[in-house]
Symmetry: C2
Subunit: 363 residues, 2 copies
């Protein structure tokens, strides 16, 4: 993508669950990647972010902590924030600091409020993109249980964003299909299905699901690259079925879906042997990959190669939404939250990716 | 494994299909990797190997070709072969040179004869290990059709070797279970199933199949490493089923198989999330992997990570046989055979791996 594309609109970073590692990795990202976090602000809680800055500094002495957190009232205030200061927009308040590493309906609701605010800001065009630090799905469920409010009744970020985008556009959620893309510097993989058993993933290999994945991938990359992307499509079976010898899904389902996509002007190729298509798509310094993206038939087929060289560089991108949203490829890590040990690499990559994707929403 | 383990017995390299790239990559291996091919000889056809040497040299002038092929009568003759000379044992003859890139029952039979000879030599202890250049399965089938001889009635190398080993030990083939291992410098993966559809691979995830894979892996590595290997076991479903949420095979099948293996003294761990277990097992300079090998539940789960960094370094090792057998991880490549363009890297790695594994057969 184009990391140099200038944008004047800022990027909103949602704080995630206040009891998880989100606040700490955000503090580290602002400290360690000032160029990448320039023109970004946090949607979150002031006291929580101040605690995170203290944890990350490793110091008990406030005067020796090199970072500060500055409250802003809107994105327009960003220009006034001094360097080494994390700009923070507080759209909802915690009554008190919550203990780190524990589930709470309060942190669940705060995290969701930040996501909803950022989604609307992105949909309205007030921010260029949103980057979401990890929320905790159980805390979100507790928040819904405690309040009964419909906007909290979602399993996670993706569904919440689908609902907000659908409502904004006056569509039903069913008409707001999305796909998960995992990306790092060398490989971009879009998944036909995600968190289902391998058996259910086989059942989800249908012409409709593949075609929808290809359409979403095509549209997202077309907007970013300014040209039709080359999309490699993995088979389902070893050797892509070897002509029907080990499975017929390639012949009966995947090839017809590719043919239909091609008829719509999508540059889709395959189905290819799953054990070599990712290697072929891999871009390294000096060797561009054969494809801009690979459509994988199931979760692990796509995630094994993306994660093989290290999870810390993987970024999750939600394709199909009328906004740009990226996130680090990890969870709240309650087990290490509060220790300052959490690695901010994936969040930093997610911010970098969000900036490079700006324009992809067609906005 | 231990690449420095000294062995005085030679390694036999079978020529593979005479119409494929086997002869050429063997000629290149002897030319480009003299240290690795030292104490190795080819089981094949003299005229075919001489043609391959000529192709690989790129020269039409015999006096300018730096390599020669020297006939030997037995492994004992190896010491007499001068440098830059490929030692060749001819155990069966082609009536004439066969055209390159075409299927023939003659090349099928010759390839099989070489494999059977090398297998018996390895079983009897006359050679330390065997490395097999690719044969063509259809040529092998043609050879069986033409002659009706039972030893040709096998789909490929692996079954042929199982049959020879079983006959040598007076066992049935059913009592000679084998598993395919794919290995490169950083990762070793053993597969529960190979060339079946993904649906059949799910059905093959049984306690018996997993336990057998663990026993074979344990025995092979125990012999090579001189200690019980640490074996990581991948789950079948995303996130290893996330506690039963996306599939129950981990709970009902894989974990019980691991428990039983542990009760037998096997160091098996898991089941782990498939999208991170290979990264964890990956050994890089300065960082040993967490596991000596990973047991993968199906073909692509294991082969995607092994091949991601490039197919040319992948080596196929057959575990479970009472002999050491490795092979390059590619086929006969009829499309480029005769051009001299075939890459010998995987064959060279296979020879290096075979030498490092010597001792693994318990011989």
């Amino acid at each position: 993508m184009n990391p140099n594309r200038a944008t004047s609109k800022p990027v909103a970073i949602t704080m995630g669950d206040a009891a998880g590692i989100g606040p700490e990795i955000i503090a580290k990202a602002f400290r360690d990647a000032p160029a990448i976090t320039q023109n970004c602000f946090v949607v979150g809680d002031l006291a929580t972010m101040r605690r995170a800055v203290k944890i990350v500094s490793g110091s008990q002495n406030p005067s020796s902590i090199p970072q500060a957190v500055a409250l802003i009232n809107s994105a327009a205030d960003l220009a006034k924030v001094p360097p080494n200061c994390i700009p923070l927009l507080q759209i909802s308040e915690l009554s008190a600091l919550v203990p780190i590493g524990f589930l709470s309906n309060l942190t669940g609701k705060l995290a969701a409020d930040c996501v909803v605010w950022a989604a609307l800001a992105a949909l309205k065009g007030d921010v260029a993109a949103m980057v979401t630090a990890p929320l905790h799905k159980e805390a979100l469920a507790l928040a819904y249980k405690a309040s009964g409010e419909a906007y909290l009744n979602h399993p996670g970020h993706t569904e919440m964003l689908q609902a907000e985008a659908a409502a904004f556009l006056g569509k039903s959620m069913a008409n707001m299909p999305v796909r998960m893309m995992l990306a790092n510097d060398e490989l971009r993989v879009v998944l036909v299905s995600i968190h289902v058993s391998l058996q259910d993933a086989i059942n989800a290999v249908t012409v409709d699901n593949i075609l929808q994945t290809l359409r979403i991938t095509h549209a997202a990359f077309q907007a970013t690259l300014g040209r039709a992307p080359r999309i490699g499509v993995a088979g389902l079976n070893p050797h892509a079925g070897e002509g029907g010898l080990f499975g017929r899904e390639e012949i009966e389902i995947i090839a017809p879906a590719i043919a239909q996509a091609c008829a719509e002007g999508i540059n889709a190729f395959g189905p290819f042997a799953p054990d070599t298509v990712f290697m072929r798509a891999r871009a390294t310094s000096g060797k561009p990959g054969e494809f801009d993206a690979v459509v994988a038939m199931y979760h692990d087929q796509g995630l094994i190669p993306v994660k093989y060289l290290g999870v810390e560089k993987g970024v999750n991108v939600t394709l199909g939404l009328p906004l740009v949203r990226t996130s680090p490829d990890h969870g709240t890590a309650f087990d290490i939250a509060g220790t300052g040990r959490a690695d901010a690499s994936s969040l930093i990559e997610a911010i970098r990716m969000a900036k490079s994707l700006v324009g992809a929403s067609g906005g």
